[in-house]
């Protein structure tokens, strides 16, 4: 934090922005008691004071923003700054210590080097289920995992092979590095990789764009999280006859799902540690579980199976 302060002063010294000066003079005054207030407490009842930042995956950012709103309403002296940036940014920023919470939709082990992992704490806050979607005009309703694999490896290219009306299968992919894509490929491709010659018709940046493009492109297929499946122009497929629902993920029948992680640091500065801890606890609380479901995610509480970083599923 002191490095942070120094650079602020350096900036003032260098540029002398008067507006900023006035702002900072006031804010320096207000931080001191805030820092003192949080020190040595953490007991229930005492008011939480402090501000933390949380960056990273955008897939469950709306959910975290909802949590932030409720959390700040309950703790008026707390502020949580939420920014996007993607899982990679979130993980590297929490590893560097420039944010208190780094959101990721993959295990940190998949993105970070071993030395960066040191001191990171994995807080799994909820679960996201995902499944294949197709353009609403596609007359196929069920797909086997083998067929899905064939499509995304470029081996199956016509809907006729799946029992539908003949027509080219237009594969819309998420961009390389996307957590959704990593989860989907881990569950469906089983370690195989598409040949170099395989070209999707688009590689897009977000689930929202996937929905738009699948709805607009005849014969297209892609995959999104459950909360994006209720949209016009697309339809969700059942996989091996199993519906993509919360219950089926909890029971372990539906296998394409992943944890949403909020990584924190073990050695977090004590002026913010209490706020960070309280915020994560709030995300996991029973009170918030209803919001988690509303937003299309699955609370941690009811899971009957669990996954480890290598993708092995075991009974919880």
């Amino acid at each position: 934090m002191s490095k942070f302060d120094l650079s602020r002063r350096q900036f003032i010294g260098a540029f002398g922005a008067t507006a900023a000066l006035a702002g900072l003079a006031a804010c320096n005054g207000s931080t001191e008691p805030a820092a003192e207030g949080t020190e040595g407490e953490g007991t229930e009842g005492a008011a939480l004071v402090g501000s933390i930042s949380c960056s990273g995956a955008t897939s469950f950012q709306p959910l975290v923003e909802k949590a932030r709103d409720a959390f700040q309403d309950a703790n008026p002296d707390v502020s949580v700054a939420i920014s996007g940036g993607g899982s990679g940014q979130g993980l590297s920023q929490v590893a560097e210590g420039s944010v208190q919470i780094g959101r990721s939709d993959v295990f940190a082990e998949e993105k970070l080097e071993a030395d960066q992992l040191e001191g990171l704490v994995d807080n799994q806050v909820c679960i996201v289920g995902m499944g294949p979607i197709v353009n609403a005009d596609v007359d196929v309703t069920d797909i086997t995992t083998e067929q899905l694999k064939g499509i995304f490896l470029g081996e199956i290219t016509d809907w006729a092979d799946l029992g539908g009306t003949a027509g080219t299968i237009q594969v819309i992919q998420r961009e390389a590095g996307s957590g959704t894509r990593a989860t989907f490929e881990a569950a469906v491709l089983g370690g195989e990789v598409a040949p170099d010659s395989f070209r999707p018709v688009a590689e897009v940046d977000s689930s929202g764009t996937v929905v738009e493009q699948v709805a607009a492109t005849a014969g297209s297929i892609s995959y999104v999280a459950f909360n994006y499946m209720e949209n016009d122009g697309i339809k969700a497929l059942t996989v091996d006859g199993v519906e993509p629902t919360q219950e089926n993920v909890e029971s372990g029948d539906f296998t394409i799902w992943a944890y949403e992680h909020m990584y924190t640091r073990e050695d977090e500065d004590e002026s913010t540690a209490a706020v960070t801890k309280a915020f994560i606890e709030f995300m996991l609380s029973d009170d918030f579980a209803a919001t988690v479901v509303e937003e299309g995610f699955i609370p941690m509480g009811d899971m009957k199976v669990k996954k480890d970083a290598d993708g092995n599923v075991t009974a919880a």
């Binding site: 490095k3 650079s7 900036f11 922005a17 507006a19 804010c27 700054a81 920014s83 940036g85």
Partner: protein, 309 residues
Amino acid sequence: MASEKNARSVALDAHVRRIDSQDKVATGVLAVIVGLVMLLVVAIIAYILVRGAGRALTPGFLTNPYNDEVVPGILYQLWDSFYMLLVTLVISVPISLGAAIFLVEYAPDNWVTSAAKTAIETLSSLPSIVVGMFGSLFFVVTLGWGISILAGACALTMFNIPILVRTIQQALEDVPRSQRDAALAMGLTRWETTINVLLPAAMPAIVTGIVLSAGRVFGEAAALIFTAGSAPARLNFTSVNFLSPTNPFNIFRPACSLAVYIWRLTSEPTAGSTEIVWGTATVLLACVLLFNLLARLLGKLLSRRLTAE
């Protein structure tokens, strides 16, 4: 003999007719091209307005936060855009002014000056994403400012400086030689001449240049995504804690400008976001056009006042 002459004049006539018609055809084709270009400009602006004006004029669109349940608005993005612009100008105007004065008045004719000129030229041709990625490492990580308005404003400054330096330089050079000579002859130093004579005389052009550059900065997005962030900020206009990420004046909080908001909504669309995109695009376009108009008006007004004195 006569027939030969006749034939020659017929050939010449034909040649004249040919080049005349060639001239007419060329002029006609060029006129069509110009017509099409103007049609294109009108079509583009009209299309944006038609698609977005309805949303932009909806009561509440300009004054509601993005998460309003009835009419999601762009209040925070508007604020962030203008505030970031202000911070950018506060940083970039003094630097550009100094640099331009140096180049016009002091610059020795040697490699230092030509290196400085090359540096500014380089800056002007850098792709915005390169400035953005540099900012995301240098301002955000190395200087430790985090994803913040300040980091974003510094990235924008890097765009603004070459434009500003060039316009200010031009404005100073356009001041009549006689004024400068008269001041120097009266025993004023170059510094005094610059401050008391050149700057006031060049002021209308400088102000116009600043406002015009503000229009460009206002619409920039690529350099901001990784420096000021792309998540819509949540602001609290009653906040007095200047360190709070919800305080609108805090320059160390993330921010999302109108342009970045448009990019984010198109790359992460949600239900109904297309309407917001067009509405925001209309507002952004209107702001930029207003900047252009303002620049012209200010320039005229200031020069009239100055010449009246």
